[in-house]
């Protein structure tokens, strides 16, 4: 996907997060974009590794900086960090790609619905739990995945890690259900790329 098309999708995600929650900083974008790409299958093309506060993409970090340089995002102060605010320029860029926006609108909306408004500390846990569930300990029981989360991020207590793994399983199941509903109703544009706990057990 070319850069501007990607920017259109990314800024739509940020707009959604700003609307759903009371603010949206870079950490919110990093974690939710990971779900958008890896759970919903939207081809944003970022490479994620486990790094700052869970899944993190250096490419995405650079792109957010570039979007500020291009006037599509602005930084505004907050009590805890700075928030990313989309500008009018985003509306113009999104308007260039009506087909792409329509194709991925529901997938982005799903992630905004499930994760928008969550605090960064919750997103850190959920993002890490999803990274572990999807990449490192795929198909393993909850306690093994939770232990891995705590081993990788010792500041996350085991109980919170377990809750996060369970919530990620629920979100993944809902993503599959949304996809199936979309297919039944003849819609396109919802793609999931993750196997749920149920599918793993089958």
């Amino acid at each position: 996907m070319d850069r501007l098309r990607n920017a259109a999708l990314l800024t739509r995600l940020i707009e959604g997060l700003c609307r759903k929650g009371d603010w949206c900083g870079e950490t919110h974008v990093q974690k939710t974009a990971f779900f958008v790409q890896e759970l919903m299958g939207v081809p944003l093309g970022f490479q994620f590794i486990l790094y700052k506060h869970g899944p993190f993409s250096f490419d995405l970090r650079d792109e957010l900086t570039a979007l500020r340089a291009d006037g599509m995002l602005e930084l505004e102060p907050r009590t805890y960090g700075a928030q990313l605010v989309p500008t009018k320029q985003c509306v113009y860029i999104q308007g260039l790609y009506p087909k792409t926006m329509a194709k991925y609108e529901r997938s982005i909306g799903f992630v905004v619905e499930k994760l928008g408004g969550k605090r960064v500390v919750e997103l850190e846990r959920l993002g890490t739990a999803f990274f572990v569930s999807n990449r490192l300990e795929e198909g393993k029981p909850v306690y093994i995945r939770a232990n891995k989360v705590t081993a990788l991020k010792p500041h996350i207590p085991t109980e919170k890690a377990r809750d996060a793994v369970r919530e990620v399983d629920r979100i993944a199941s809902a993503a599959v259900a949304q996809k199936q509903a979309a297919i039944s109703s003849g819609e396109h544009g919802v793609v999931t790329s993750v196997r749920t706990e149920q599918q793993r057990q089958q």
Binding site: D62, D70, Y80, Q89, A102, H155
Partner: protein, 442 residues
């Protein structure tokens, strides 16, 4: 000095001190090669003083890395919470081990650089290779492993690789929080000593004073901090500063901005880099540098410079035209540059101009240079005097409003320049208008 210590004089840090094991690394073929790799590629064609090499920069990075390590691991600088999260902090043996790994990693962090440093390494190496991968290859070579294994206790080469290239460039390895922080000391976005040293050193050698900042003060105020001291906020430890270091941190970020604007992205420096890349593509076998260790060690700026001279003088030599452009100072001229009005219409306006010109003229007469700043907003924790931990972006307007470096330029051969710039100016809106996708669902 005791017999097992060695001193190297340095224009930035006065003395850099090494022990005998570090001296063995310094004497190795892979490190000595850095004596022949210019830190700033062909920048000396614009700033004549910029003839310094990766060799002295690497020594400077080692010196600064251990200064930072000593400050942030000092017992009085560490809270109980951080101590409970980072296990090596409570073991003097482990601290000694990691300090040594850090210094070796700092010393070796650039050993994989190609001739003339960063000049277009993506296009001049086979797919999947970059200088960080070459660095890891050198660190894990038999020659280097014999040094790591001779040390008591032996150093794990994987640990040195991790800290030398960091999580971004070692995605196959898992990093603990401790290893992440140590890697940040060298290559971190906010307080990496690689950047601290190159800003100070490049500033010194180019004569561009913008790169100087109060690094002594900054290093003394660095701390390992959680992102917040409120339990329901982010707790992951990271490098931050005491409140007293805010202005030094701001000065570092400003130095970076000015050096990028004034030196690293000087348009003539950039076009020389592009001409050099064009030359190398024609001159090298299969258009790429060797990734074989022996081949890598053999190739330095000296070999490339000799080939440039030879090619510039003989029309039948590979790369003749590009070599002449460099040595004859016949570089292409800047025809188009990113500007706020055009970006409103198309953030990729330079690419659009480049495409249009490439269709109208011979492709070899047009070049495009696109660079976007490779780092995020400078967000790091700050420990306030009242004990609170806050975000740098929360309290520093300077950091929040720091401009982002973005380069989008098109260059043209002098023979078509006047004609081409006239054509672009007459057709600008049409040329830069972005393509619109057809509406439709799915």
């Amino acid at each position: 000095m005791p017999g097992n210590f060695h001193e190297v004089r340095d224009p930035i840090h006065v003395f850099v001190r090494l022990d005998s094991e570090e001296r063995r690394v310094l004497d190795s073929a892979s490190f000595q090669r850095l004596r022949h790799i210019h830190q700033l590629a062909l920048t000396y064609l614009v700033y004549p003083g910029a003839t310094h090499k990766r060799f002295e920069h690497s020594l400077g990075v080692m010196e600064l890395a251990s200064r930072v390590f000593d400050v942030i691991t000092h017992s009085e600088s560490i809270s109980d919470r951080i101590r409970s999260l980072l296990e090596p902090l409570v073991s003097s043996d482990k601290l000694r081990y990691w300090r040594r790994v850090l210094r070796m990693a700092a010393l070796c962090h650039d050993v994989g650089h190609l001739p003339f440093s960063h000049a277009a390494e993506k296009e001049l190496l086979p797919n999947g290779w970059d200088h960080e991968k070459l660095t890891r290859q050198v660190i894990s070579s038999n020659a280097m492993k014999s040094i790591w294994n001779s040390i008591t206790p032996p150093l794990r080469h994987v640990d040195i690789e991790k800290l030398a290239v960091g999580p971004k460039n070692a995605t196959d390895l898992e990093f603990t929080d401790w290893e992440t922080i140590l890697a940040e000391i060298i290559g971190g976005d906010a307080f990496g000593v690689d950047r601290m040293d190159y800003l100070l050193r490049d500033s010194h050698h180019t004569g561009v004073a913008y790169g100087k900042f109060e690094h002594y003060r900054l290093i003394d105020t660095l701390r390992i901090l959680p992102q917040s001291n409120e339990s329901e906020r982010l707790q992951e430890p990271a490098l931050g500063v005491d409140e007293g270091g805010i202005h030094s941190a701001e000065a570092l970020m400003l130095a970076r901005y000015f050096m990028y604007s004034q030196v690293y992205f000087h348009p003539v420096r950039r076009i020389y880099d592009i001409h050099l890349m064009d030359f190398l593509k024609e001159w090298l076998d299969d258009s790429v540098f060797s990734t074989d260790l022996e081949g890598h060690l053999r190739m330095t700026d000296n070999e490339v410079s000799a080939a440039l001279r030879e090619a510039a003088d003989a029309e039948d030599k590979a790369g003749h035209l590009h070599a002449r452009r460099i040595l004859g100072r016949e570089h292409f001229k800047r025809l188009y540059e990113w500007n706020p009005d055009d970006v409103q219409l198309n953030p990729e306006s330079g690419r659009a101009v480049f495409r249009a010109l490439s269709e109208r003229y011979d492709k070899d007469q047009i070049r495009h240079d696109r660079y976007r700043q490779g780092s995020g907003a400078p967000d790091f924790p700050i420990q306030m005097r009242d004990g609170r931990i806050v975000s740098s972006l929360d309290i520093s307007k300077t950091l929040r409003t720091l401009p982002v470096v973005s380069v989008d330029r098109v260059f043209a051969d002098r023979s078509i320049f006047d004609n081409a710039i006239k054509w672009v100016n007459e057709n600008r809106d049409e040329i830069i208008a972005p393509e619109r996708e057809e509406a439709g669902n799915g």
